[in-house]
């Protein structure tokens, strides 16, 4: 890769609320490894995993069309998002607009109604993790990680949409596999921490069903926590904002329901990186935003 990569950044709605620490840490670490970011102008919601039900498939496509058309105007061919759902929708919509002529025409008609220019689907949408794997590379992360996270045991939990369904496809950058992705452990190791074996790497936490009907999915999260505890992990690392929030905020409910005593911090790989890069634990790593504080990680942070 060239030394610098320019991307148009789509933070997604969670960046302003439950996923603020993801947004803040991504913004902190990406420039450190040569990724320059500029936000999509006046970006809007992607529709997440239920938009097409509430609004219908075409309006959801139009939402994403608006973001992409705005990104296109900014003149950069790469769009990057750190959120799994945003990636799925933005990337999927981009492919639909690119490949399905009939839908492209309809989306452009809708964009025209908003006074926008047509979009042909010629941008490339990346997940932030794919950028780290394919464009930055682990060597560069390891090189920049001057404050190695010695002794920290990390369970790498990728979750589902970060690698599904696009990670293994050429369009999705072909950056890892669906079932046993390795990039997250690679990042952990590049930061100098220990990646403990974690079989349930791509297990689902329940996603949006966990938000609306947690009782249906607590058992799924319990499995994830058990596995991490068994592996002796100090923290669980996950790239997905919804995964992070779900697994963190429902630990009390799980403990109440199953009589367990889980208290495992869940952090983003970008938070690990920020600490390993020796950056500010609050401003850059946003560790204060974890409701279950990652104390061991905080101790490793440069004061």
């Amino acid at each position: 890769m060239s030394e610098k990569m320019k991307v148009t950044y789509y933070p997604g709605c969670s960046s302003e609320a439950t996923g603020r620490h993801l947004d803040e840490s991504i913004r902190a670490v990406m420039p450190e490894v040569g990724v320059e970011m500029a936000d999509i102008e006046d970006w809007n919601c992607c529709g997440a995993s239920v938009g097409h039900i509430g609004g219908g498939p075409l309006p959801t496509l139009a939402l994403n069309g608006r973001n992409l058309a705005n990104a296109k105007k900014q003149g950069n061919e790469h769009v990057m998002t750190p959120c799994a759902a945003c990636y799925l929708n933005t990337h999927g919509s981009n492919l639909t607009i690119r490949d399905d002529e009939a839908k492209r025409e309809k989306v452009n008609e809708a964009l025209k109604a908003g006074g926008m220019e047509a979009y042909e689907g010629d941008l490339k949408v990346h997940h932030a993790m794919e950028v780290l794997v394919n464009f930055v590379g682990m060597e560069k992360i390891a090189e920049r990680a001057t404050n190695k996270l010695k002794g920290l045991k990390v369970a790498g939990w990728v979750g589902c949409q970060t690698v599904r369904p696009f990670a293994e496809t050429d369009d999705g950058g072909n950056y890892d596999t669906y079932e046993e992705p390795e990039f997250l452990d690679d990042i952990t190791r590049a930061c100098g921490a220990e990646a403990v074996p974690y079989e349930k790497k791509t297990n689902c936490c329940g996603g949006s069903v966990a938000v609306m009907k947690p009782e249906k999915t607590l058992h799924l999260m319990k499995l994830l926590l058990e596995e991490a505890e068994k592996a002796g992990a100090d923290v669980i690392s996950t790239p997905c904002p919804l995964c992070q929030t779900n697994l963190e905020m429902y630990q009390d409910a799980i403990n109440a329901k199953y009589g367990t005593n889980f208290h495992i911090p869940v952090v983003f790989p970008s938070q690990l990186m920020a600490v390993a890069f020796g950056m500010d634990p609050q401003k850059d790593a946003a560790l204060q935003r974890n409701t279950i504080r990652a104390e061991k990680l905080e101790k490793l942070a440069k004061k």
Partner: protein, 200 residues
Amino acid sequence: MTAAIPATSRTYDLSFARWVRENVKGGDKMNLCMQCGVCSGSCPIGSEMDNGPRKTFMMVRAGMKDEVLSSTTLWNCTSCYRCYVRCPRGIPVTSIIQGLAAVAAKEGYADKEKVSNYYFSKAFWWSARSFGKTDERLVTMKYFFSFGLVEGIKRALANLKIALGMVKAGRMHIGMPHSIRNKSQLKAIIAKAAELESKG
């Protein structure tokens, strides 16, 4: 959606299957299903589904429109895409399930008791449409209160502790919802898209 959804009177009337094939995203691949069951076996939340994807596909083929559209299967998909990537026939299972859910919502099959997902989707879309962004706080509240005032307060209180934790960590703000700047533009785009979709 192009054609009107057909009314079927007998089992194994293929008109519903053919309608799905033409009108649901990924439906054209559904014919290739060989009923192996990898999808249902891979589903993390299959225990919450009455039929699961495999049987749902067979029911579509069998013309069981009402049973398919009122099934809990459509509303419990977590969108983890495991079935999608594992299908040996390359059928976009998740997309079809989501597509059928959209059909069920549109056709009035969504039942308050069974399909909380539907109300969540409505609340979610309300936020996206009104503000251009998802305000998780408002979505959740609107969702809770979609079950009625009493149930809404009950659910809100149950989640109070979580909410307070989030506020403290700066992950839930108090005050005006986040919003995009050009709301009128977004509204015009969505209105046009909705119009195009209904026209087919």
